[in-house]
């Protein structure tokens, strides 16, 4: 009952808008699939088949209706060394393994890890991705004649100005059609898609990658598969978040992870490279009125139609036209507000964002950038929280007892300050450490309390610890030495 209801909702709530949006998106998938196949060093068919297969499969099994997944820049830039050193068959095998890893990650509920990825890291990721897409266009723009630059400029002008005339047709399509027609008619000498490699002339077919099924193969592909899986899931989760925000509807992230896994697993067998969700194309989809699974499905099917039926024409598309579309995708992906925010946001979050971008741009690996960003934001968080800590003290009237009052958060980052707060040189009969307003978070905190107590006792001072609250008490009970019976016997009563 619910399933039929939700199937209707997921597929048929807005068929006309979804179909149109799907077609618009298909046109924006072609440049990315072709462009990044070329960058990865494989035939355009590898990227195009992957885009078709991933889009169609994810529309059926994904967890975020309205999100577009296909062969992406983020994955393509990772696999270049694998293809260069071992060949394209290893790419297919790595894609299959990538799918398996992603599905396992879904079952392990690793989507929960996303809550440790801060907004600054996400912004950094998005910006880095946009920069990667832009950098990837540069080879097409170096050592070429002025015609290429002119065509890119005209292409961009059409893309951004044509919508002022009418929004009924996709302006990237208009740009591609006009530039193709002009270049054929005028015989302009620029690179075309056909120059870049073979386009598919048939439907994709089932294909078992021709790699030896040995441990050595696994050793070669596993690191790639792992990074591909991580980057794919990261981009997919972030894109899902963006689509969630835009549509104001929830998504099933875990199902999306498994869905990405299934899509990549099957795509590997169809002779496709791995892919994931695409931020730019998903935004295009929503903007064009697509919001259900149908638009993703249509984008995949229409893409296949374009390349199989209109293949000969697609081969004559000048590369500058696709470069223009990819520059548009790059511009649309980049978070321009983040540049303005550099001044207004806390410097720590700006540093996290910039470090994420820098690590990605220098390694071409989005996963490394995210790890760097997450670690850095964790450090910044710890350094902020450690300031929520204070020790005050007062001497009793007779000058024999000093009471230390500890308040705030005591953990690894603040434990040193905790230890420094006590004056062990002062001659006293007894010391009271009142921690009723403090939280002891970890063994470093407990260790430093222990150390302070032992130090006082070595000076012959009696120590009382007051008000270990519940959270601190559990930590002390479990880890502290001074509280355990054995330690007491060995060290004497305090």
């Amino acid at each position: 009952m619910t399933s039929i209801t939700s199937i209707k909702q997921d597929w048929l709530s807005n068929p006309k808008g979804d179909a149109l949006a799907g077609i618009v998106v298909a046109l924006a998938l072609i440049p990315e699939a072709i462009g990044f196949s070329i960058i990865a060093g494989v035939d355009p068919s590898v990227g195009l088949f992957a885009s078709f297969s991933i889009a169609v499969i994810i529309s059926l099994v994904g967890g975020r209706p309205g999100m577009i997944s296909a062969s992406t820049a983020a994955i393509a830039v990772l696999v270049l060394p694998l293809i260069r050193d071992h060949g394209v068959e290893y790419l297919f095998a790595a894609t299959i393994l990538m799918g398996i890893i992603q599905a396992i990650a879904g079952f392990l509920k690793l989507d929960l890890l996303m809550q440790y990825v801060s907004r600054s890291v996400i912004t950094g990721f998005v910006n880095a991705l946009a920069i990667l897409i832009f950098i990837a266009q540069l080879p097409q723009l170096t050592n070429v004649g002025w015609e290429t630059y002119a065509m890119v400029a005209v292409g961009l002008a059409i893309i951004y100005l044509f919508p002022r005339l009418t929004k009924a047709v996709p302006s990237p399509l208009v740009a591609i059609v006009i530039l193709t027609a002009v270049s054929i008619y005028a015989g302009i000498k620029v690179n075309t898609v056909g120059d870049m490699g073979k386009l598919p002339s048939s439907l994709p077919s089932f294909w078992i990658p021709q790699v030896p099924f040995t441990l050595d193969t696994l050793r070669i592909i596993f690191p790639f598969s792992l990074t591909m899986a991580a980057v794919g899931l990261l981009e997919s989760m972030m894109t899902a978040q963006i689509v969630d925000d835009l549509t104001d509807t929830p998504s099933n992230k875990r199902r999306e992870m498994k869905g990405q896994g299934i899509a990549n697993f099957l795509t590997g067998f169809l002779g496709g490279m791995g892919g994931c969700a695409m931020i730019g194309q998903s935004v295009i989809n929503i903007k064009s009125g697509g919001s259900t699974r149908l638009s993703t499905f249509v984008s995949g099917v229409f893409l296949l139609f374009l390349i199989v039926v209109l293949g000969p024409l697609v081969a004559r598309i000048p590369m500058p036209a696709l470069v223009a579309v990819m520059i548009m995708v790059s511009i649309g992906t980049f978070s321009w507000g983040s540049i303005k925010n550099l001044r207004s946001h806390p410097w720590q979050s700006s540093v996290v964002m910039l470090v994420t971008v820098l690590v990605v741009v220098s390694t071409h690996d989005l996963a490394q950038g995210v790890v760097a960003g997450v670690v850095l934001s964790g450090l910044f968080f710890a350094s902020k929280v450690k300031r929520l800590f204070d020790v005050s003290s007062e001497l009793s009237g007779d000058g024999k007892t000093r009471t230390y009052r500890v308040s705030g958060q005591v953990f690894f980052a603040s434990s040193e300050r905790f230890a420094d707060a006590f004056d062990f040189k002062e001659v006293l009969d007894s010391v009271v450490i009142d921690v009723s307003a403090a939280h002891f978070w970890d063994i470093s905190a407990v260790g430093s309390l222990d150390k302070a107590i032992l130090k006082f006792r070595r000076e012959g001072t009696h120590v009382d610890v007051l008000g270990l609250n519940q959270a601190s008490a559990t930590m002390v009970d479990r880890f502290a030495i001074h509280d355990k019976p054995g330690a007491e016997a060995a060290l004497g009563a305090h």
């Binding site: 039929i4 046109l27 309205g66 996709p170 730019g280 935004v283």
Partner: protein, 284 residues
Amino acid sequence: MSRILACIDASTYATSVVDLAAWAAKGLGVDVELLHIVQRKDAIAARHDHSGAIGLGVKSELLEELTRIEEAAGRLAIEEGRILLDAGIERLKGHGVTVSSMHLHGGIVETIVEREADAGLLVIGKRGASGQFAMEHIGSKVERVVRASDKPVLIAPREFKQTPRSVVIAYDDSAAATRAVAMVAASPLFSGLPVHLVSAGVREPDGHDILARAAEPLRMAGFSVDTFVDEGKPEQVIPDYLMANADSILVMGAYGHSPLRTLIVGSTTTTMIRTVHVPVLLVR
């Protein structure tokens, strides 16, 4: 019995829903909760921009624009809903019924199912506002509500002019039909009304046996019972019977078949709700 949940929207059915709820509330001696659900306009579908060009700050601009569209439509919908609810409350008070109102955001089916938890009876219109012009069609949401609900559902026809003078029970010997009979026998709403037990699609002698058995609890409860058996299709027999008895209320068990089967062959329940012009009480 706990209170009655009456769901209204901007369709012409709102008045008859209110009147029917008032009739049931008085018969049962309970309160009415009037529910109107504000549905979100789908801003994404409302935009007509197939340019596919994404430029500077597209994400924030798009989010801003979608929010603006939905915000404007939402305000209007809230205002409309308030007027509807106020009119409904007035009308119910005029009938002398105690009424409270509920104005919620959300999906129609999900919200009704959520709110019906502490209600004993659900009253909805045969069609919603979006189905205004599709004559003789049951609103797609009505069927979903009935399937999702586990309370008896009273479906209001477009016009509810006179209070029912008799009860027609469409009886097919199913568990749901048996429950429908038991409900009529037990409910104060129907006390004193003559009951017609109608069975269709069965052969005469069998049908009379079945109905005789079904009539027993009703007769024990003091109802006067007529039985009627016809070999024709239920989808024709029962509407015909109700044409002849236009001042009655139809009671029947709801949706015996799986949704999958319904998808292929259609549902007797749906056809029946669609073709009759009297209030229908569906018992799960």
